[in-house]
Structures are given as C-alpha cells and as structure tokens.
C-alpha cells in the first residue's frame, strides 16, 4: 500500500506492507535508527516518536496510521548540529547513561513541556511514566527535565 507522510519535515511517498510498524518503517526503510526497539510491545518507551504532537510508541503503531501525519524523531530535534534546549539539559546534568532510553526520554520530555512548560516534579514523573530507564534510577533524568523546562521557558 501507499503511504504519504512527513518525517522530520521531509515529505515521503512510500510503498509499504500493510502490517509494517512505524518503528520498522523508520528504522529499516528510512534508516532513522534513533528510535530504539526495547520491548517491541509498547511497554518500555525506547521507540517513542512524536506523531502530530503526541508521543507514541512506534513499535505498536502501524506505519499505515502515519498517513498524512507529521512525525518527529530524535534525528529531527537538533537544528544543524545545534542541540535543542532539552538535549542540552540532558547533556549538562548527565540525564543519561547507556543512552538506549535517551531518544525516547528526550521526545517524551518535549511533549510534556509543549503541553506544560512549568511542570512540578510529580508532573515530570507522570510525563515520563511510559519510558523505562534501567541505568539512571531516574534521578538525573528528572533533574534534566527541570533544567530543560527552565531553558525552554527562557
């Protein structure tokens, strides 16, 4: 079947299999490997991307559902090598270790802060609830999000 969508502000016209997942489309067809496959069943958030402004688990979204949609992956967040303020905050605070959860964490943070630029600690935790991290114990991630919120508000 045919699929038309925008990924990181680029238009795509693609021929896809109807049962292909959005994650496979991004990773295997478009070579965008920033979204990771952890659990493959919607539990870990490593595959998080933003579809029309909402964070989705790309492993349980069909590629076909992206028809006419605007997708943002981690590769599309930095501008010409300049980090997005959220990325800057994760680097400064050290909100990452192995980095496997990081693309998903950063994108979930973006959706959280787009909706609520001044979240409380509880709201941050709630906003990242869908993203597992096995390495950090979350402490430095939560701190990174606080700093990111300050930066985004300017």
């Amino acid at each position: 079947m045919n699929l038309h969508c925008r990924v990181n502000e680029k238009e795509y016209d693609l021929e896809i299999k109807p049962h292909m997942t959005l994650l496979d489309l991004l990773r295997e067809e478009l070579g965008l490997t920033g979204a990771k496959e952890g659990c493959g069943e919607g539990e870990c958030g490593a595959c998080t991307v933003i579809m029309d402004g909402k964070a989705v688990n790309a492993c349980i979204v069909l590629a076909a559902e992206a028809e006419g949609k605007e997708i943002l992956t981690i590769e599309g967040l930095a501008r010409e090598g300049t980090l997005h303020p959220i990325q800057e905050a994760f680097v400064e605070i050290g909100g990452l270790q192995c980095g496997f959860c990081t693309p998903g964490m950063v994108l979930s943070t973006k959706v959280l802060l787009d909706d609520n630029p001044n979240p409380t600690e509880e709201e941050i935790k709630k906003g990242l609830e869908g993203n597992f991290c096995r390495c950090t114990g979350y402490t430095k991630i939560i701190e990174s999000v606080k700093v990111a919120a300050d930066k985004v508000r300017g």
Partner: protein, 770 residues
C-alpha cells in the same frame, strides 16, 4: 586531595551529545548490504531428549538461505572453567530448560526466518524435570547432566576459625532461612549481533557485549580460528549489568555459523520475550544463616549454608558461589566462619552473574539477621554496626579478613556517621508514623562491594594515547562503556595526566583488531584497571612531549610542565605555549615523529582458592551505609519508597556525575529486587515474560535519592578511585526490608516482598487493617 584540573569536575559525558541526538549506534542499528536475518527455533519442553530434527520443510521455504542445528557446532561447548564447559550454542541431544535453542534459520527477512522456525519438526521424548534446587539434590531426582549425577554443578565447604566453639560460647545464636528472588538484568537493549564470516575466512562481528573480548575468544574456540581472524567491532551498549552481555549467548554463535554457511552477513536481534525466558539471570538462592553474638552484640561466628538455583548449565556459577561465600566476612569483623554451598542444576534458564555479583545474597541475609539480633538484645542497630564495623586501616598496614581478603582503605565508619547524621535517619522520630492506612518506616543497612575484580582468566588491560599533530588526542583502550561512564572517566584521566583539555580527548571504542585486549566491564574493574593503564600511557606520552618542549626551549624536560592545555616553565610560568603548538613541534620533528604513549595495568591476577575460600578477588572495596524511608499501606500491602540516603565510600569520585548516577541507578535496581521484580515460574515456564508483567520501576516509583561521598584516597586505585554502584545495589534490598520492618514490625525474609506477601504477613500477625 590535591587540586586537579579535570578529575573530580562535573564535565559532560564524552558520549552525551551522540546519545541525545540519536546518533549513537547500537548493535541492532547496523546493517550490511545483502544481509540476512536469523531466528532461533526453541524447545517447548524444559527437559527432553531430542530424538530427531527434520529441517527439510524449513529449508524449502522461499527466502530461507540456511538452517543449522546443534550438530553443526561439532560438539563444541563453552563455560567458565575447563571442567564445567557444559553448554553448546544449540542443544544437541537434550534440552535442559524451556525455550532452549534447538535450530536456527537465516532468511531474507525476519518474518520468513520466523515462519521457517515453525516448520522445523523436532521429535522429543519428554523427561521428568526438576525445578526446585532443594528437590534437585534429593536422592532419585531426575539427572540433568550425566557428568554431575547428583545435579550439583559446584560445591564448596569452607571453615575458618572454630565455629562450633564460637557458637557454644555465644550469648545468642539465631538461625533463619532467607531467599533471594528470580531476577534478571533488565537492560533495555536486547542482545543483538551482526556477523559476517567472509570467504577469506575472517569473522567480523558487531555485537551488544559488555565484555567483547570474551566473545572474541569464544568465537575463536568455536570456529577453530586464530584470534587474529576474529574481529569484534563494538557498538554502543544499551545497558549490561552482567550475565548475558558478559557472556556469549546462543544467537551470537548462530549468526556466525549461518554467515559461514550462506556467505552473507547475518543479523539477529533477541526479542524481549526471548531475553526474559532464555537469557542469563541472577541465581535465586536459599540461605540458611546462623549467626552468633556476645551479650554486647559483637559478632562471634556465622555459618551459612547456601543453595543456588543454577538452571540448566554451569556458566559462571563457580565464581558466583565463591563470591557468595567470600563476601560474608565483610564489612563487619568476623572471627569464625563456615560456608557450605551447593549450586544445583535445575530445568530453569541459566543463572549467572548480575550486578553485585554474589554479594547480594549473603549480604542480604547477614544484614537482616544482624538487625534481628540487635532487636532481641535490645541494642540500637546503629550502635551494633559501629561495634562490629571494620575500621579504616592505615594504608601501610591494610586489613585482612579471616579468609584473606585484603584492602587498604575502609570508610565504613564514616558512612555510618554520615548516613545517621542525615535528617532521614536523625529525624526519624519526628516523622508521622501513621497516616490513615499508611504506616511509615525508616531502615538502615551497611555493606560493601569489591572493586577491581582480578580473579582468573586473562586480566590484562592496556591503553594507547596517540597525540595528533593538531593537539587533539586519540585514546585507545579495550575497555567497554556499557553505560557506567567509563569512557568519560578514562578521558578525564588522560586529560589530567597529559595536561590537555578534556574536550580534546576522543575515545575510541573497542575494535579487537586494533584495541589492546581487556576482559570487559564487570566486577567494577574498568576505572581501576583501564584507569591505571590510561594513566601510565598518558605519562609516557607526556614524557615525549616534555622532551620535545625541552629541545624547543633549550631547557631540561623536568623544568617544564603541562596543564590545562598549556606547556610552561615551572619557575617562569609566563613562558608558555599551547598544547596544540607543542604537539606540532613534537610531531614535525625530523621526518615526522609519532607520539604514542603506551601503558598497561599491573595489578595482575590473584589466585583465588575456590576449594578453601581464600584469596583476594579485587584491588579494593567500596563501603556503603544506606537509609530508606517508605510508607506501607496496611490494607493493600502497597509500598511507596520515598527516600534513599546513600553514604558511599568510593575512594575518590573521579567523575562525580557518574558516581552519583551509578549509585542512584544501582539503588533503584536494588529497590526493585526488594519489592517488585521476580519471575513467576511454574515447571520451568516463565509466566511473566513481558515488561508488562515483569515489574520494573518507572519514573513514578523512583525515590528521592541523596548520595553522600565519603572520600578515602585508596592507594590502589588511579587517583584514589574504588568502585561505585554495585555497593548501593547490594545495600538497597536489606535497607528496604529493614524499613518495612520498622513500618510493620514484621521481618520479611524472602524477596521480592510483594503486596500479597505483606497482606498475608499482616493477617498472620493480626495487623491487617481492613
């Protein structure tokens, strides 16, 4: 601590930018032209004879390029010790746990490979299985391996001092049974491997390995090739925590064999379900602990009998059982000690190493039991710890335990002081004890973990520092950063020693064709070993730079130093030049000099005597006191852990961000093993084989964590460093269980302490609020 330019600073991680941009490539992110996909066909039985495997139908499926079975590996097996190499890449005559691999397929895509697996017909003769280690050692139990007819894969009996006399003379002797959970590493990145066995006979592999050089040797052995023909190129690693990514797993061998057969690159990525049902997990252990004390609460003796649930193969089990016994004599003075251990084969997935390797089991038992006795004797638990704690020795004297563990620094006493002065503990009487159905409690624990593991095997570790002519630096080691931050720490050490800017160091990841051999990331060894190698290699390069500077300035090299990106005359610091200029001068000498510094770690290997339990398995030990505050709903049994304070002696924290992050991550993983995680198993079948059902903490479950650094400048670590994170991982479960006791008055001796167990215990104790 002297003033350093880079060490101890909160520099950004060297790999942070690539990681936040999604540019860091992990094994599954690689692909090659013409690549095939592999899948493994797995046994539906936990214990069965393989009578016949018919692969003909699978082979005929369009898109299938090769099918292999266990026989293709010609009887090759691997394992930790020469006497326990009992595991083959795919089962040959018999399967010993459910979903063990029996055949593998390479096909044009994953779906075809999967379909082909379902077409492989295996005739099995199901055998009675045995799943409980205490059942498995009973006379007449089904035999899992012919070479160990009693199902005991490892057995130790150690005796130090006079335990019987010590118990007879003790004021109090207590016996309890403890059990630790069936838990898994829980990394987010499933094992993945892309392999190409090229027609000229060289193997190249991109694999998710925290110990790539283990895999390098395994492949050489398995395929009968010299090491020079094996090349492991290391991608970024998405979490390790021991076991699976230390070792090789079935899929790692299958991709290489399938590539050999097809002449094409082959990739295999485990599903999370395969990880949770077939990969290495921590040994679940039953510990019968007997502890004696004087009336004043001074430890007299411990006898511990430990039964480890080993699963279908031995893997690294001999070391696990060693460490489990070895750790009991720390961090409190213990004059008499007996240890009897059996690691038992069962028809479960294979048990192996995991973060806090070995220490988690007996330290949990001992710590809780110590507090139980304190309660019986009416001694304050902190006072009891202080009375028994090992003091910080004078580095020249060191300290030696009864089983010969030696170390030069011990900050345990300071950690107790810091943790108990912290408001979490100090103000515990001021906090609300009860709020509606929620009862609050605060717990404390003290523990230790070994740094710089140097037991058995090939422990060599080297570093190369190449000064580029523009003043930037390539740092080359065989060390693996699986998330802990070692690339950053090693780059900091190089910058510090060279006097270069941290930003000018670039760290080269492992490629076994070029990097010096290194056993990998385990036993908190990387900073200690690779750190020493980097320190020495940097000194070697610096010496060459100073010589060049001396020539240029017509002075002796000793009169010059380099710091923060500038070379200068020691007694006339205005006379200076940039590191970049110096690098140019040094590099353009004559026909063009090459500045290469080399160094290696010289800690060497300590002989451990597995049969008597003596020896020194590491260079140094971290010490931790941890306090926990939590609330328990006395109606539902739900626990909310709100705060951790971790006072941790990691020597000198070289990169405080990583030391804190490692402590925080280790403690949350430990919290999880205390109250959330545990496989639900029935006759070898894992019932909770997804992240939906295997409970790991989410952001909403994370407590507030405070890490207090206790600085002991250990002479055996580079810049005084010891270990960070495994200590906090070991201290978290007893600390949580201690807090639970404070809240409920009940001692829980089996992990994980789930709401169901709590409600049941509350009911039994007549404390259930309903």
């Amino acid at each position: 601590m002297e003033e350093y330019s880079v060490i101890g600073k909160r520099v950004p991680r060297i790999d942070a930018k690539e990681k936040v941009m999604g540019e860091a490539k992990y094994a599954a992110d690689y692909s090659l032209p013409g690549m095939l996909w592999a899948k493994v066909a797995r046994s539906p039985y936990a214990h069965a004879k393989i009578l016949n495997i018919d692969t003909s139908k699978a082979e005929k499926l369009p898109g299938v390029k090769a099918v292999i079975t266990g026989k293709d590996f010609n009887g090759w097996t691997w394992g930790f010790m020469a006497t326990t190499r009992d595991e083959s890449p795919l089962a040959v005559d018999k399967v010993r746990y459910m979903y063990e691999g029996v055949a593998a397929v390479a096909a044009v895509d994953e779906e075809t490979a999967e379909e082909a697996c379902s077409l492989i017909k295996v005739d099995y003769e199901e055998l009675p299985g045995v799943f409980d280690p205490e059942e498995a050692i009973k006379e007449g139990a089904p035999v899992i391996h012919a070479y160990r007819a009693n199902n005991v894969s490892v057995e130790y009996h150690w005796d130090f001092g006079d335990v019987d006399k010590a118990f007879a003379d003790s004021y109090i002797v207590r016996e309890d049974r403890f059990e630790t959970g069936k838990v898994v590493t829980g990394f987010l990145e499933p094992p993945a491997s892309l392999a190409y066995y090229d027609p000229s006979g060289n193997i190249t592999v991109w694999a998710a390995k925290q110990s790539p050089y283990f895999h390098y040797r395994h492949l050489a052995g398995c395929f009968g090739l010299p090491l020079s023909k094996i090349r492991i190129i290391q991608p970024f690693i998405g979490g390790g925590f021991g076991g699976t990514k230390n070792d090789s797993v079935a899929g790692d061998f299958c991709v290489v064999m399938l590539s050999k057969k097809t002449g094409r690159p082959v990739k295999y990525v485990y599903t999370m379900e395969e990880v949770l049902t077939t990969c290495r997990r921590r040994h679940n252990m039953i510990i019968y602990n007997k502890m004696g004390m004087t009336k004043d609460g001074i430890l007299t003796a411990i006898e511990s009998r430990v039964i480890g649930n080993g699963g279908g193969y031995t893997a690294i089990g001999p070391l696990t059982m060693f460490l489990t016994g070895y750790a009991t004599t720390l961090p409190y003075k213990l004059p008499n000690y007996r240890y009897d251990a059996w690691r038992v084969f069962t028809n479960n997935p294979v048990s192996a190493a995991m973060r806090g390797h070995g220490f988690t089991h007996t330290r949990f038992a001992c710590d809780i039991q110590m507090h139980m006795i304190a309660e019986e004797l009416g001694i304050d638990p902190v006072e009891m710890r202080i009375r028994n704690a090992i003091d910080n020795p004078k580095p020249a004297d060191g300290y030696s335990t009864i089983n010969g563990i030696k170390f030069k620094t011990c900050g345990l006493m300071e950690t107790i002081k810091a943790a108990t002065e912290d408001p979490l503990w100090a103000d515990r009487d001021k906090m609300v004890k009860q709020e509606g159905p929620v009862s609050y409690g605060v717990g404390i624990t003290g523990t230790t973990y070994q740094g710089g593991a140097r037991q058995l095997g090939h422990q060599s570790c080297g570093a190369i520092v190449r000064i580029c002519e523009d003043g930037t630096i390539n740092l080359i080691t065989g060390a693996t950063d699986c998330g802990q931050g070692s690339d950053t720490v090693l780059a900091m050490i190089a910058a510090e020693v060279l006097g270069a800017k941290y930003e000018d160091i670039s760290f080269k990841r492992v490629d076994t064709a070029y990097t010096p051999v290194d056993p990998g990331s385990y036993g908190s060894r990387v900073t200690v070993f690779a750190g020493q190698a980097v320190e020495r290699a940097s000194r070697d390069a610096k010496r060459q730079l100073l010589e060049a500077a001396g020539k240029a300035w017509n002075v002796k090299p000793e009169e010059i130093d380099i710091r923060e990106g500038f070379a200068f005359l020691k007694d006339k610091p205005e006379k200076r030049m940039s590191f970049e200029k110096l690098a140019k001068i040094a590099s353009y000498e004559g026909a063009g000099a090459v500045i290469l510094g080399t160094g290696y770690s010289s800690y060497g290997v300590e002989e451990l005597d597995f049969s008597t339990g003596t020896g020194n398995g590491g260079t140094s030990f971290s010490f931790t006191t941890q306090t926990t505050r939590l609330g328990v709903d006395m109606e539902t049994g739900k626990i909310d852990v709100t705060d951790f304070t971790i006072a941790h002696d990691a020597g000198v924290p070289l990169h405080p961000v990583s030391v804190e992050g490692q402590n925080e991550g280790g403690a949350v993983q430990g919290l999880s093993q205390a109250i959330y995680e545990g496989f639900i198993m029935e006759n070898g079948r894992t019932h909770n084989s997804t992240f939906l059902d295997y409970k790991m903490p989410r952001s909403t479950d994370a407590p507030r964590i405070k890490v207090i650094d206790i600085i002991t400048d250990d002479p055996d670590g580079p810049f005084g460093a010891k270990e960070a994170s495994e200590g906090s991982h070991v201290s978290a479960p007893p600390s949580v269980v201690d807090a639970l006791h404070d809240a409920t008055g009940i001692w829980f001796k089996e992990l994980p302490v789930t709401p169901e167990k709590i409600v049941k215990a509350l009911k039994d104790a007549g404390k259930w609020m309903k």
